[in-house]
Amino acid sequence: MVTTLPDARHARHIAEQVPDPELPMLTLADLGVLRDVEVTEDGTVVASLTPTYSGCPAMAEMRADVAARLRDAGYQRVEIRTVLNPPWTSDWITPAGRRKLAQYGIAPPGPAPRGGPVPLVLSPTRHMVSCPRCGSTDTEETSRFAATSCKALRRCRACREPFEHVKEI
């Protein structure tokens, strides 16, 4: 009997297509949550995921979804690892992911604050966030927290539409 190791590239391709449970227009690869897919010497496909937020309730769903997709694709030995370090940053959302967010009416994040402690700044910060519908930059934050941890609520002053914005973190 001839045994061949699973094809890591194909396994990666399968894992990359898994949609995010809360932002299903994005794949886990678009979101930067899928950190790595490799095949070990004994033929196990190991997919590494990182949580977006500590309290992200979708983490268990993501693990289950990736494992199920890989098994459906014929990989029998699948292991999901969680990578905590380095922590997820919105900078890892891919250019394709940002385009998809905007198409679905969610403003993608700007550059995340650089590492280290962020001092408390009370002066109004000028976040240039464009309205995903009309493109105007005349938008304001209505709430820093929205339906999921990773988003804020904003409103466009030009077209009057409310919209969500993936926060920089």
């Binding site: 949609p19 449970p21 809360e22 932002l23 299903p24 227009m25 995921l49 949580p51 937020y53 500590s54 309290g55 992200c56 309730p57 983490m59 268990a60 769903e61 693990r63 979804d65 292991e79 999901i80 690892r81 969680t82 990578v83 905590l84 370090n85 380095p86 922590p87 997820w88 940053t89 679905y104 604050p113 280290g116 402690p117 962020v118 408390l120 009370l122 209505t142 709430s143 820093r144 927290f145 929205a146 339906a147 941890s149 609520l153 926060k167 973190i169």
Partner: protein, 275 residues
């Protein structure tokens, strides 16, 4: 799975899943993480530190959740719930780490649901009743300012798992502190009534600052944040005197036991159940 509606997509992906409400029996949040404790670490101390930080977060999360259906505006309710969710996530990771470090293998449910008030190690400020919105905001400001400073130190901890939990937490806590600080300024510099309430809230929080500073070595950072906020809000700096006792030694106010009774009631009534 091409549906763009979150609910439908979830329903489609989990149509055989009868579990739509979640309370216990979660998958270990550190599942799939390399949880080896490096040699040379004082594991008892590591476990105790993780439990204390988790207790602060769990008790705070429970208080924040009490605001749901009671907050002044829907946006604030969503914000407070989100902040609570972040803290709950931090608590889950920290409890799991504690159980690995002390060798008991206890899971997060064992820590959260099956310890009594005297076993909890949270600072007392976290367990005080919510009071009005002003009190909750001042407390959130102080606790998140303290926690962001402490977590920043922990990012260089010799335990890589605790360091990683802290590195993630710092980002979240920065948002929490910002939220509380902006509300504190808005209310302190707002109407006569909101200003009065904020002064009262500062006075109510002040006695617990001493305990916070003996528990965590973060006095300079918290005082700097408070100074910035009080100056912008036109509020006096809180004056604090030491208050006997410490939550870190299991000495709590009379408010912790009723909070835990609500938090733990179902899990204790049905100890083998998962839901």
């Amino acid at each position: 799975m091409s549906d763009d509606h979150v609910y439908l997509t979830l329903a489609e992906g989990h149509e055989d899943d009868t579990r739509w409400a979640y309370g216990t029996g979660f998958e270990d949040p550190l599942h799939g993480v390399d949880t080896t404790v490096p040699e040379g670490i004082d594991t008892g101390r590591l476990a105790a530190d993780c439990v204390a930080l988790a207790d602060d977060a769990l008790v705070s999360a429970q208080r924040l959740a009490e605001w749901i259906t009671r907050a002044p505006e829907l946006e604030e309710e969503v914000a407070l719930a989100n902040i609570g969710l972040d803290l709950l996530g931090q608590a889950r990771l920290l409890y799991s780490r504690a159980g690995q470090a002390d060798g008991t293998g206890r899971d997060e449910d064992a820590y959260a649901y099956f310890r009594d008030a005297g076993d909890f190690r949270n600072v007392r400020l976290a367990e005080l009743p919510n009071g009005d919105f002003a009190f909750s905001i001042v407390r959130l400001l102080v606790l998140s300012s303290c926690r962001v400073a402490h977590f920043h130190r922990l990012t260089s901890h010799t335990d890589p798992v605790l360091a990683a939990i802290a590195a993630k937490g710092v980002k979240e806590l920065t948002y929490h502190r910002q939220y509380a600080a902006e509300w504190a300024v808005r209310l302190g510099d707002g109407t006569e009534e909101s200003h009065r309430r904020m002064r009262r809230a500062m006075d109510q929080v002040a006695p617990y600052l001493g305990e916070l500073f003996t528990t965590y070595d973060v006095r300079d950072e918290v005082v700097a944040d408070l100074r910035q906020v009080t100056e912008a809000a036109g509020l006096p700096m809180p004056v604090y005197r030491p208050l006997p006792g410490a939550g870190r030694d299991g000495e709590h106010t009379e408010h912790l036991a009723p909070l835990l009774a609500e938090l733990q009631g179902v899990a204790r009534a049905h100890p083998e159940a998962t839901w």
